[in-house]
Amino acid sequence: MRRFSIAVTCALLSACAHQSGRPPLAKADTAVSAAPTVPAAAPAQPSPPVAVAVTPAPVAEPASAPQSQVPGVAPGGPRTAASPVPSPAPRPVAPVRTAPAKTPAAAPAAAPAAATLDLPLLEQRLKDTRAIGVFTKLSLKNQVDDLLTQFRAYHKGGSPQTLPQLRQRYEVLLIKVVSLIQNDDPTLAAAVGSSREAIWGVLSDPKKFATLNA
């Protein structure tokens, strides 16, 4: 008997829970069908808050209630628009505040990477990384050696390839390396990517390339 009463209580509670859960879903459905306020709020956050906030407001006006049109258009429309408008207003301010903070931080980080190129360290990091396997590392080393051979021939004057062609091959190889390591070793991928011009400067300059070979 007790079990039966417990079962009935549970059934009632679950029914109440379902009923309490349905209205928000129904509201959400009607809200979505009537006016995309919820989806509009999300895109309103990033950049175009005014245009997105204005469009749901007129749609919500006839759907919500005609009573609110006279006093409510101003408060009701602005309520939906006012709540996004003040909130996006400070929100862009916050990214702007953080953006200058990131920019000076990124600038000094990129500047030394471009200024000082430590090729042996970069090579060692590529050897040590676990982002790629042994076969992949050996394949990449083969392709790097092939490219270095082509550069050597170019600087000796016995290569049919032009410098733009070598540049293209270099870019493709660098993209391969970065794409292979960027998921599992993003810092190394960033280091390789930021060293691109510096490495090209060594490869394309005969004197620097000679020191590289030595």
Partner: protein, 81 residues
Amino acid sequence: MKSLTRIIAVPVLGLAAVGVAAADDGFAKDLKATIALQGLPCDQVVSSTRNKDSDYTAACHDGNRYHVFVDGNGRVVVQKL
């Protein structure tokens, strides 16, 4: 006592199996990347058999099979089978 052994053994064996699977998954990714670096198609390596040191046969999900090995010059060679 038997139940205690089972309680201990099952998670240990399970973790070992997960470790082996992760290692296999990593090696499959390695083979897939190696094949892709040679410009050959392979969507996913589903199985690989070791022929000898640094010499494998890889089977891809799309049906392609490759012989991946390191030759005497230290170059990775991928041959379509």
